[in-house]
């Protein structure tokens, strides 16, 4: 059935073609651009849904295009890629609606939405990549397409953030490329295979594999915001809200974490990596990032910077889950990939709403804002509580599995890390919630905009509410088939059980 060969490519091309068309749309054609955006997002969602159902039935989807003699461009739908592609297509639809509302009459929108679609194309490409070279190809494409989004406003601050983003990511990309070529030159293949393809080779190569591992993790760590390499993430907060929402909850940061999962699971194989002794340093680095991110978040007054530091620490949960060698912890890490995305995007949407309707950027200005914007703040509360790990929200599920996994893997110190960071999360989210609901609002907001009966434009309000409900749903209906937890279980069974 030819459908099996071309579906993954179709998914990638659906947003690519939309993006290219939008580039050439004149600025004033708002209706067509919005229509195109929504059609593109919905089409992708439908295709992904169709593929999800197919993979659920045990169908094999793979597109193989010749790239180099002996090396193909491979797009394959396996459970791990389904997890990430599902997350990105759902959140892209929601973020597109939000971005249309947010950038109501600002300049350069054709350029923005063009690069916006290209960015999601790259993300989906990263998710569906079937071998390391395809992964690198889309990973670098992601760097190139997100740069224009970060510097979209064109202010001096935005351009400085863009420059720092590029220095980090281009250098990271170079490391990743070096590691990939070295791996390919030694082993002759870069295909992602269950439990990795390095275990069979002779032992003399082990030190080389360790160096290659550090290169790969260095390259991927930049986007996964591991400690020394996270500087760009906080500076990139200056981008418009939909960009920081997409960038930090879905595309860039997740691509890094997803890459690390791919390398550990499908290139090295978890047992071989553990045998090499590289998983423990990775776990320590991730743990350090978790704590560091939360600590820095405590002292940030600017709302988006606090959320950025929270992202730095939350993403490392995923890596921690992987690096703690144990099936249950792996489930926790993998499912957090989706949960963190949904929760964090809710928080960014709300931050965007506050900035757009009331001109609030700092937490100190957020007193009593719950009364003025009840729905937004309700969504914000759900998101924040989810981040802390309060049951029955999604965050609790992933932290629960992470804790259990750490215990049964005998890594007790991880428990303290989890507990400590949850406390810190509470430390920097609860005061905000308290201020929002229980403090007296100031008599006038800095530059308030009125939207008749509603608290803000519907396009800005609906997305956060939807994602908040999703957080709730993923918490309550965790064990329903086709839920993120279900997929995480399938992935770990493939990886761990013989």
């Amino acid at each position: 059935m030819i459908w099996d060969d071309w579906l993954p490519l179709l998914i990638v091309l659906s947003s690519l073609s939309v993006g290219l068309v939008i580039f050439f749309l004149p600025e004033d054609r708002v209706a067509t651009r919005t229509g195109l955006n929504l059609v593109g997002a919905l089409l992708k969602l439908v295709l992904v849904g169709f593929m999800l159902w197919g993979v659920f039935q045990g169908h094999q989807y793979e597109t193989r295009l010749p790239l180099l003699p002996g090396l193909d461009l491979v797009l394959r739908a396996d459970p791990l890629s389904m997890l990430f592609v599902l997350l990105s297509s759902v959140l892209w639809l929601v973020t597109t609606v939000y971005a249309i509302g947010y950038l109501e009459d600002s300049p350069h929108r054709s350029r923005f939405f063009g690069f916006f679609s290209l960015c999601v194309t790259a993300t989906v490409g990263v998710a569906l990549a079937g071998n390391l070279i395809t992964f690198v190809l889309f990973y670098e494409l992601l760097t190139l397409t997100t740069y224009p989004l970060i510097v979209h406003r064109g202010t001096e601050v935005a351009r400085r953030a863009g420059r720092s983003y590029l220095t980090y990511t281009v250098a990271g990309g170079a490391l990743l490329l070096a590691g990939t070529v070295w791996l390919y030159a030694i082993t002759g293949t870069v295909e992602f295979t269950e439990r990795g393809f390095l275990s069979g080779l002779d032992a003399s190569l082990h030190p080389v594999f360790i160096i290659i591992f550090t290169l790969l993790i260095g390259g991927l760590g930049v986007k996964a915001a591991l400690i020394p390499l996270h500087g760009w993430l906080v500076q990139a907060m200056v981008a418009p809200a939909p960009v920081s929402a997409l960038l930090h909850a879905v595309a860039v940061v997740k691509a890094g974490a997803f890459g690390i999962v791919r390398v550990v699971y499908d290139v090295y194989g978890i047992d071989f990596a553990a045998g090499l002794g590289v998983t423990l340093p990775l776990a320590i680095l991730a743990a350090a990032t978790v704590i560091y991110g939360s600590l820095r978040a405590l002292f940030q007054d600017d709302l988006k910077r606090r959320l950025a530091f929270s992202t730095v620490s939350q993403v490392s949960y995923i890596i921690l889950g992987i690096a703690v060698v144990g099936p249950v912890a792996a489930i926790g890490g993998l499912v957090h990939l989706v949960h963190q995305g949904v929760m964090k995007i809710t928080l960014f949407f709300c931050a965007g709403n506050l900035a757009e309707t009331l001109g609030i950027h700092r937490i100190s200005e957020m007193n009593g804002v719950g009364r003025r914007m009840p729905w937004t703040m309700a969504a914000f509360t759900i998101g924040a509580l989810g981040m802390i790990g309060v049951p029955p929200l999604a965050g609790f599920v992933s932290k629960w599995y992470l804790g259990l996994g750490a215990l049964d893997a005998g890594q007790d110190w991880v428990i303290f890390i989890l507990a400590g960071s949850s406390l810190l999360n509470a430390g920097y989210y609860l005061p905000v919630l308290y201020a929002v609901w229980f403090n007296e609002p100031p008599d006038a907001w800095s530059d308030e905009r009125y939207f008749g009966r509603h608290e803000t434009a519907w396009a800005l309000l609906v997305p956060p509410v939807v994602t908040a409900l999703l957080t709730l749903a993923m918490g309550l209906l965790a064990s329903v088939p086709l839920s993120p937890l279900y997929w995480a279980r399938i992935i770990t069974t493939l990886e761990y059980l013989p």
């Binding site: 010749p66 180099l68 935005a158 281009v170 170079a174 490329l177 070529v181």
Partner: protein, 478 residues
Amino acid sequence: MQDIPWGVLVILLPVVGTLACFLCPRRSVPLGLAAALGVVVCVAGLGWQVVEQGAQRYAIGGWGAPLGIDLYADGLSLLMLAVTAVVGLGISVYSTSYFEPGRSAFFWPLWMFLWAALNALFLSADIFNLYVTLELLGLAAVALVALAGGADALTGAMRYLLVSLLGSLSYLLGVALLYHSFGSVDIAILAHRMEASPAVWTAMGLMSAGLLLKTALFPLHFWLPPAHASAPTPVSALLSALVVKASFYMLLRLWLEIFPLSNSAPGQLLGLLGAVAVLWGGLLALRQTRLKMLIAYSTVAQLGYLFLAFPMATSIAWKGALYLLLSHALAKAAMFMAAGSILYFGGHDRIADLDRVAQRLPLTLAAFGLAGVSSMGLPPSGGFIAKWLLLEAAIRTGQWWWAIILILGGLLTAAYILKVVGYAFTQAEVTHEARAVPVPMEWAALALALAAVLLGLFAPWPLALMEIGLPFGVEAAR
């Protein structure tokens, strides 16, 4: 279709084009464009013939190798012809609206002469004939640089002419030594009779020195930036993309077929010079204040990459170098055209206040950006494939230090390309009135930039073409 001598047509058609443009200067634009299209068709015909029947040898005058001159078309020369045709067509379209009538009457005959010289050079299998085509190429290029007429264009052209003549004479002395040692100037016969002797080593040194001077490898690159930057834009594009590559092609041909060496000491020296060129060119490009000078120094850097293949000397390394040559030709031509459009629009190409101009030329900036992606070696461009092949060759031959140079060079290129692209995202309003850029100029640049990107997506075909006639030796393709 089989018996049409496409090789000869590819050479004679531009010559006929030159004569036509020279005879009726008022209609030189349509005539030139027609000749350009004709040449592209002929190259396609030759390509189809070479793919069908493998490498073609054509004895001119029917006399055969030692006495007469042969034309030889294998995968390597075919790809060089193809890239010359594509870039040439782009430049021809760009120049239809770039020059005002007075100058374009002289641009087209000179440009057609240069194209004829390039095609003759890529097809010739005779080292003396290569000298004549090299000279034809050099003089045409010098005349084209001088076409800009300003003080620095004329001095740049003068210095380029002196350097070019010095290189040619040194090459000719090498040819004399080779002829008087082996009694023939045909490459195949020389390769057959070749054995190491002092005369051969000196000839190799002289010819390589001459060609390195014309390819502007690191210590001998001083003449390139002023010449390429001050020339009129289409001329800078064709100089950086094609003319500099012709002498590299000759060096490649000689080292692959005639000179008896594996990856010996001279190869290491070339690799070292290439590495220094990559870093030196990149650093200087970073410090330039004018866009065209930045691009010219970027050419010096990218040429350095090509020479990294000499010390490795495996078939993957050669393929990587050739692939980089192809994508650099396309990307560099697109970059210079974009710079030309910016210069045409804003009247200046100072990088510092580029932002007033850049944001009102989205197509031109897109072309510059795409071409930049290819020269940075980021996917999905031809540059990435080339960088991948060279990296792979470096690791397989155990000479990993070349890999470090490749990575550092990529970062340096990224630095100066993105410094320029950054200016497209600013809020500065335009202060001075500007001249609208004609449509063919912007679209020609974008087309070539897209070609550079497509080269990255459809890599197997050019790589398969490189196999025809086995120019790079027989060992394992992978």
